[in-house]
Symmetry: C2
Subunit: 362 residues, 2 copies
């Protein structure tokens, strides 16, 4: 027994051991002493992958000793050696955006199942905060990054990407091809929304688009134009109204402006649900009935949009699935660095509720 710490076998039985008279959480060396084996042997006995290197009887003794002492391995030490922390940095704009929690759950469920942990941080879309956050995560040596802040052409990517740390993007693709991403089928969603409105007889449809510097904003706007063309509907410049950000307030303001200048609009396709909620509020204030006067379609089907009045017709994206896929992609890349980076496109589904109705002549 070379261990400096003494722990007479079968005496200690709590999750603290003693040096002199100071209690401390038990270490591998305590377990080794308790089981009367060398620390290296103890390590192998406790480690799934190396367990068959030790005699079964010894392994049992070590495991019992560990249990008796309430031993909890210090992953920090292992991480230091193995250069792997089993932790993933998750960079979000703002967790209180209801769109995100299900995604985060998806990420966490997949990660924890494999012994990983997510380190979550919010940037509030502030470049400075983001930089700090990434630096902090890098200092903690996360094995990879899952990034859900959706500004295009991100300088951060280069910083991270250089050291060869895997990255998975959520809800946007990178302009470079060495980074994986998970997105929903924006185009299909918008096409379904427009198609639904056309079927209801609408002809004057306006898109309230998201910010152009977010890939979702740009992609959905583009898809809207295409969908209109497919349906042989003209698209004037005024048929796409740009929002500065995805927010209720912006949706509200946009709607007010649209109806201040035009009065033939019978349907609105919002770039996301938050904008749509603003639209509903504005219509109420404008004494316009939804869906009788104006139909509204949202995007995302985030929680509770089925409970507002009128219940929102919207394009459902599988938020949990996005998170889960992103995490899985990350694990794949960590497990096998030769994994090709890829873009996973998840299907979407139009959920028709009460905010859309047949077009009536005005």
């Amino acid at each position: 027994m070379t261990s400096l710490r003494k722990a007479e076998p079968s005496q200690a039985n709590s999750s603290v051991a003693t040096i002199g008279n100071v209690r401390h959480t038990p270490t591998l060396s305590d377990v080794a002493a308790e089981a009367q084996v060398h620390i290296g042997t103890a390590s192998r006995a406790l480690n799934e992958s190396t367990r068959d290197m030790v005699k079964p009887e010894t392994a049992r003794r070590v495991q019992e000793a560990a249990a008796r002492l309430g031993y909890s391995p210090n992953v920090l030490a292992g991480s230091l050696r193995s250069q792997k922390t089993a932790s993933i940095g998750v960079v979000l704009p703002d967790l209180t955006n209801p769109f995100l929690p299900p995604i985060v759950r998806g990420i966490e469920d997949v990660l924890t199942k494999r012994g990983y942990v997510a380190l979550i941080g919010n940037t509030d879309n502030d470049a400075g905060l983001e930089r700090k956050l990434v630096e902090s995560l890098r200092a903690r040596r996360v094995d990879g990054f899952i990034i859900a802040t959706s500004k295009r052409n991100h300088p951060i990517l280069n910083i991270i990407a250089k050291p060869g740390t895997p990255i998975v993007l959520i809800n946007r693709t990178a302009d470079r091809d060495d980074i994986s991403s998970v997105i929903s089928n924006d185009a299909a969603g918008i096409r379904a929304a427009v198609g639904h409105l056309v079927e209801l007889g609408h002809k004057h449809i306006v898109h309230i688009a998201g910010p152009a510097d977010l890939s979702t904003g740009r992609d959905r706007a583009k898809a809207f134009k295409e969908a209109m063309q497919e349906n042989k509907l003209p698209t004037n410049k005024t048929d796409i109204f740009l929002c500065e950000q995805y927010s209720i307030a912006e949706g509200y303001a946009a709607t007010k402006q649209i109806f201040a200048t035009r009065n033939n609009v019978t349907a609105l396709v919002a770039a996301n649900d938050r904008i749509a909620l603003g639209v509903l509020q504005a219509l109420r204030d404008l004494k316009l009935s939804c869906p009788n006067d104006v139909s509204v379609v949202g995007f995302n089907d985030m929680p509770f949009v089925d409970l507002v009045t009128p219940a929102l017709t919207t394009v459902r994206v599988n938020q949990y699935g996005i998170g889960a896929q992103a995490a899985q992609l990350m694990l794949d890349q960590l497990g096998d660095s030769s994994t090709v980076t890829k873009t996973i496109v998840l299907p979407v589904k139009l959920i028709v509720r009460s905010s859309t109705a047949p077009c009536k002549p005005r």
Copy 2:
């Protein structure tokens, strides 16, 4: 220069250094070599608190070298030595409960400002998952736990508490007195709700209570009884209806059952907003008008309850504040272990919207 790694000063200029021909993220030893100083000196030069132990000129040189190499300190190594990880375990029931994200933001904002990181995990109220989660967090040597799973009399607490790791509870108090907690003033909230209804002329008020094994469920039910007494209103056993869990479905079922047996009820106080949402749905299905036939009050004022129809009258609790206070309490305890454990009670406020109205004879 004893460093094994060589890095000729002013050659390297990216965030990777080289051993032989293998690129790796630069370490302190690389920085030391680059600045032509000993690793110990480099450590002191980069560390705020020890910087004045080195010559200013040297400190500058080291800092420049670090910047040039894109050095990012490996906190794991430091943590191993200092036995402090600057990370806090946050145990939640389920992040997708809309009540939680603002709390989590509060926690994170306070923690990150001090260089700490939150490790978040969900338990789904499953004891087994919780045990695993706590074990995993313990293995990662978090400096403390913030726990928002609100079952009373938690065995987990004893496991954690034994090694002397600080704990802060959210939304409940512990039956033991060595654990701090942050709660909202449930009693005041319920009193305000009942008072509001009484002012509107309601006499037959029923409370749909939360689970009795959650401290919020029990406390609010107790407060309801007291508030009714204060207002000289009788409380029969049937005036408190127990839910198995805080959910829309339970609120729905409870309402159906209540109106199946009684028809004089004119007002309902729900133990939380989710139950209240279920109530609204049930009333609609029962062809009862809210607020004309029945008034409803919720609890929490979680996001979007102002957008449902009718907009929910509810008791607002400062979710962000709860999180922020909890984190602050945690930091206090970590900074000074002699800090007395305490219970912080945050004020609440009744937000009157459209789900309550004067009582009309039926």
